[in-house]
Point group: C2
Chain length 349, copies 2
């Protein structure tokens, strides 16, 4: 996701990743030093999420102190907002490659994934969330989900709720998800549980909004331990934007169909099918999907088969309507308007 | 080069690439169709420079009409401002890959380079340029250079000048350049000739400004057949910006040293040397070097070992001073201020 100029909900700078206490992240330097030693590595690549890139120099300093002089530490300057944003160039060109802050998207001997668990205490915010959750005497069923950086507290959250008589429903989701109860910006299969309410514990609104879009029948309670606020996910503004984009695209003659070349985002068959069936559709391949890159294409609308969050969250920043594959089917009249649903990746690689 | 928001001299939209007459570009469809046939290709990738991306759909339509139904045409959405911007992902994933509008940067059986020569008549602008060139009776020596898209008229230009008693000096330059008399944004070795004046025939000021920076002792006459204007390259504004950036960087503690991963821009040894000698320098690797990507790094200044034109032309758009490797040596006190010179690539790959 590219959140470049404006600060908005969902922006990583509004999550714990950018808070003052990040001095306390555990970068697991021992594991890195050990891997360098074992492999007699000469080049070590480090990739941080956007919100932690500014920590790169300090981590480099700490590593340099502990590594032999002839080992070179490289920082990835590629955009990094999620597990898909693996710097594959750096991965190929370094002997040890460390990706911080996301779950593994691709397993390899060469990659070290350092999860960067948050040290934020979740109990106070769980306490606050009771105001928004149903009374367990009336409706004890509640789903529980969180993000990679709070996974270390997941059992603590579950126990806390169970001790207050909730019947906590959790699920590992599909193979795209590493942990039980984990959500990704593009995958909420861990919330496919038998409860009308889901408690999301984590920073920002980016994940819970996706969750609420994917599960419009569920009430999504946001317990944000980072910004210390409890709220209910409200998808109305999002939905209006989506319907607006679909309507504006209904008159489109020329369609640009985007195939994203990033690992974990490739839905080539879907992109190809659209182009096969529509003579006015053109296949465009790219890694970063940004407004600048699409401006020079003379298209009336775009369908993005890559990251759905680029479409739904960054959509308004593009000069022409940008739709998900499902929304495209509505815009060209293949599906009815009320079939509009959130676009997610289920086990796609 | 990324010229996204503002229109300025050097912008490709101000060159022949974006003019109305581009219907007349020769896309060499026969060559492409033949290659598809020979290789029994199923996927054809097309990469256009930014200024011609809007022509992609029409070229795709023309190709689809002539190719078997099961051949898929893909358009590259990667930024493309020069020969370095080869879409290597697309190159690997297609059976035939066509790069339009630039000279070959990497030779491969799979790549078809279509030069897209301009059909603009150069004689009227040569006539106008006589007002700025020295009288051949007094000083007949003149260098002659042009860009890839006007190479088809190079002999015509030379003959025209010789018929008017000029002694025309031309040179192939080094191995980075494909043609005699050709300049690239990063290489002006073809102007290393024995003449005090150089005539540049081509669109825009991007190339002649680089040429004048590289050869401050020569008068560079710009004959622009696209915008129909003759002028003299004036580097004063550029030089002021460069000195300003160097001065601002003199107080820098933390340096980001950029290694660009693009084909033809890799000066790793240079980047590594800086990091080796400066404990406060950190190696950052990336493909597109943009202000957004560097904003999250907590650096005081940057040294760019990649495309020098990002540094000199886009420099002011970055939040911190961005220097060339030579300028860095001045800023840290290794070289005197008057050693400032234009950064170019000579045969670097």
């Amino acid at each position: 996701m590219s959140h470049t100029s404006e600060s908005k909900s969902g922006d990583l700078t509004k999550t714990g990743m950018a808070l003052k206490h990040d001095r306390e992240w555990d970068y697991e330097l021992d594991r890195i030093v050990e891997a360098v030693d074992e492999r007699d590595a000469k080049k070590v690549g480090l990739q941080f999420p956007e919100g932690l890139k500014r920590r790169g120099p300090a981590v480099t300093d700490d590593l340099r102190e502990r590594l032999p002089d002839d080992v070179r530490v490289l920082l990835s300057g590629q955009p990094c907002y999620g597990a898909c944003d693996l710097d594959t160039y750096m991965m190929r060109r370094t002997d040890v490659f460390v990706h911080f802050g996301h779950s593994p998207m691709k397993e390899s001997d060469k990659i070290i994934y350092v999860p960067l668990f948050s040290n934020v205490d979740v109990e106070p915010i769980l306490e606050d969330s009771l105001n928004e959750l149903a009374d367990p005497d009336e409706n004890p069923d509640v789903g529980l989900v969180t993000t990679a950086q709070h996974m270390n507290k997941f059992e603590e959250m579950r126990t806390w709720l169970e001790e207050r008589d909730f019947d906590v429903h959790t699920r590992r989701g599909d193979e795209r998800l590493t942990h039980e109860g984990q959500v990704l910006g593009c995958n909420y299969a861990s919330a496919d549980i038998d409860a009308d309410q889901v408690l999301y514990v984590g920073g920002g609104k980016f994940h819970p909004l996706g969750l609420a879009m994917e599960h419009p029948d569920k009430r999504v309670v946001i317990a944000d331990p980072v910004n210390n606020a409890v709220s209910i996910a409200d998808t109305e503004k999002f939905l209006k934007q989506r319907y607006g984009a679909v309507h504006r695209a209904m008159d489109a003659q020329k369609w640009g169909v985007i195939f994203c070349t990033k690992i974990g985002q490739g839905r080539y068959d879907q992109a190809e099918k659209i182009v096969e069936e529509n003579d006015n559709a053109y296949l465009i391949t790219m890694d970063e999907v940004t407004p600048d890159r699409l401006r020079n294409f003379d298209m009336d609308a775009f369908v993005n088969t890559g990251c759905p969050r680029i479409t739904t969250d960054d959509g308004p920043r593009f000069h022409k309507p940008m739709l998900t594959p499902g929304e495209y089917e509505i815009a060209v009249g293949n599906e009815p308007l009320d079939s509009l649903s959130f676009d997610t990746f289920h086990g796609t690689w």
